[in-house]
Symmetry: C2
Subunit: 408 residues, 2 copies
């Protein structure tokens, strides 16, 4: 597997573009992903029981496991908008279908932004005109593909990745940095591949990939009403090795998830919590998530404070039974050595807790580890052989500022 | 029932004092509650699976349902301290028993503060000497009772209440404002009454009171390793009306819980979430707690922003099935009218959401309601007749400051 400097447009048969149609002032706010032939497609959705209109329409259009395009807008989430919202989402699909001369049932739709507001359909109608030509043009110059920007809300950086393995390519984009004001909800991810994968297989593989990636990140524990991850496979590359495809899909989803976590609202660093030697996988996941979710751990990580009591407390809060006297905790950082000409990655690792009590660590050494951009907290339960990793970020004054002081 | 300006020492047979013994620099850090005769006693404890040493010793001493004194220290929590921690907690009981010439098995113990550190037993040993005289003196001048201060950690205000009903008096103190640095964990509450209540009855009544009070508050969702609520009943007042006693106990616990919520780390206001007309009590509780726990709702309340999308999102996150199109949301504030000579309480109430969509409210009116010190969010599920209230506070930059920048 090789990471390449590319995007969705580098996957055979796919093209994607972003446009500024006026939903947000002067910013890219509409995107279309298009395949020149019908794809097998699969999706996973938010578990929030309040669901957005685009999600309902996408689910309907995906019932047959086929899709050819996705239309996405940012700025307005089209959630809590009743029947009008459903009709607007359907119309977005129709507009893109008509423009590209494809079946409207094969167009999926996603929206992210303000809850409770209606989409400006006139602007979208005008905005879609001519997008067919853009989609054709971008293929000749994949580097100009700007869709990753068009789907952002309060995200600070675009999130995309492209990998090649064997005979196939797989690329994805994502957005999400918390549920932020004014209700800029939603984590969205779109993955495209030229691999040939039957529908049922694609469903199973996506579920598996999402379980260990997007479902293991948390910014502030609020699951949005519009979360969605879609994968489209157009089959141009022909049959692929299943295991290698699953690995590549896992990798793409995990990398996108980490990019989302790192870009969490107000975050200064990525926090990775790795629980190992737990008695079973479910408890490993619950334990890892509880630590990555704890406001107090997040604040300590921000302050470069090795406050291990908060980590043990978060583990204890899960209700999972464990022997606290067996727990070891390590902090690990990865950073680039700027002084080194080869720009190597340096890994530093220190033990914080040994058998449930302080390991009498050197504060200065730990602070040096904690002040890097990526902190890995390794928790060894010493009570089995299962493991899980959860991703999140630290919590800062900026998070409060973003979520309290920008008004509806 | 009448609230009186008093404390534990106003309950017949009880006295309580605080002292500065040197665990914290120059601050009150040790307290003793004493009854001149043996009480029926009951307690509820943290559900965190990592439990502090004082909790283990108190549980052991309470097995027979009898107690005569409680010794409490602040500054060090005596958690994650192994066998030495257990011995230290036992020794605290012995010291207080010896000083007061009572059975050490009838002394309970609670600690709050730093996790992972040992108690300075020499200081505590010296500090307990002469406390018997203080306990006798304070009865003549109940207003000098300072124990409510001695149990505080980062709390800003002391929390105490005393009520009279029929023939009995009931008074309590509490501490807690989050799990704060350096791991100043713990919510503690101690309630004393002269009512005569059999042990089993007292157990049941305390559980009932705690379920709807302390178990319905949240500052940051982290359950500490040392949370504890103890009630002692010495029987001086003789038999009491059960219903009236339960009501008084509920009231005392709820008032203390609200005081804790209002004093949450960095909080500027109390947030009360009242879910009504839910299909059952369990779901009413889960829904109310989910809203009061949401970082995003807490930030919006801080910013006086009527961001109702976040409230619906928090409800949806519970996994409880409901019809979003039936939900009404109201904001209500209570405030004193300073201009009015009688200092009346003014209640203002506005509808925010009607049947799941915006009620087209007046922003300025809502902001006027939101900027008061106490905000009640009323959520009408319109799908049953059960209700629940959860208590919490808003989330501010100060919370981050307290939890990130004061170092271990």
């Amino acid at each position: 597997m090789k990471i390449i400097d590319g995007n969705i447009t580098n996957v055979k048969g796919f093209s994607a573009v972003g446009r500024a149609v006026g939903i947000k002032k002067g910013k890219l706010d509409l995107g279309v992903i298009y395949s020149d032939r019908i794809c097998n497609a699969s999706a996973v959705y938010t578990k929030n029981s309040v669901k957005g209109a685009p999600l309902i329409v996408t689910k309907e259009h995906l019932e047959n496991g086929k899709a050819q395009a996705i239309v996405i807008n940012s700025g307005i989430a089209n959630v809590c908008t009743g029947e009008k919202g459903i009709n607007d989402a359907k119309q977005m699909c129709e507009l893109v279908a008509k423009e590209n001369n494809i079946d409207k049932e094969n167009v999926l739709v996603a929206s992210t932004g303000l809850i409770g507001a209606y989409l400006p359909m006139e602007k979208i109608k005008k905005g879609v005109i001519g997008i067919k030509k853009d989609l054709a043009d971008v293929i000749h110059n994949p580097k100009t593909c700007n869709i990753a920007e068009a789907i952002l809300t309060t995200d600070l950086v675009k999130k995309e990745i492209c990998v090649k393995e064997d005979n196939f390519t797989i690329a994805g984009i994502a957005k999400g940095s918390g549920m932020i004001h004014p209700n800029m909800a939603t984590m969205l991810a779109f993955v495209c591949t030229d691999a040939e994968i039957p529908c049922e297989k694609l469903d199973a593989m996506l579920k598996k990939a999402v379980t260990n990636s997007f479902n293991m990140i948390t910014i502030d524990m609020d699951t949005s009403t519009s979360d969605m991850c879609i994968v489209m496979a157009n089959g141009y590359a022909g049959r692929v090795n299943n295991e290698k495809f699953q690995n590549a899909l896992n990798f793409v989803c995990t990398e996108l998830a980490k990019k989302i976590a790192k870009d969490g609202e107000g975050a200064t660093k990525l926090m990775e919590v790795y629980v190992k030697n737990a008695k079973d996988e479910t408890s490993a996941k619950i334990l890892a998530k509880s630590v990555v979710c704890s406001n107090l751990v997040k604040c300590a990580v921000y302050g470069n404070d090795p406050n291990w009591g908060r980590i043990l407390c978060a583990l204890g809060n899960t209700g999972i039974k464990f022997d606290a006297e067996k727990i070891n905790v390590y902090f690990e950082s990865k950073s680039k050595d700027d002084k080194n000409v080869e720009n190597e990655t340096i890994v530093k690792n220190e033990i914080i807790v040994k058998n449930g009590v302080t390991a009498n660590f050197d504060y200065e050494k730990i602070k040096e580890i904690m002040c890097k951009e990526e902190l890995k907290i390794i928790i060894d339960m010493q009570s089995g052989n299962c493991s899980a990793t959860a991703y999140g970020c630290d919590m800062t004054e900026k998070y409060i500022e973003i979520n309290a002081h920008y008004h509806t």
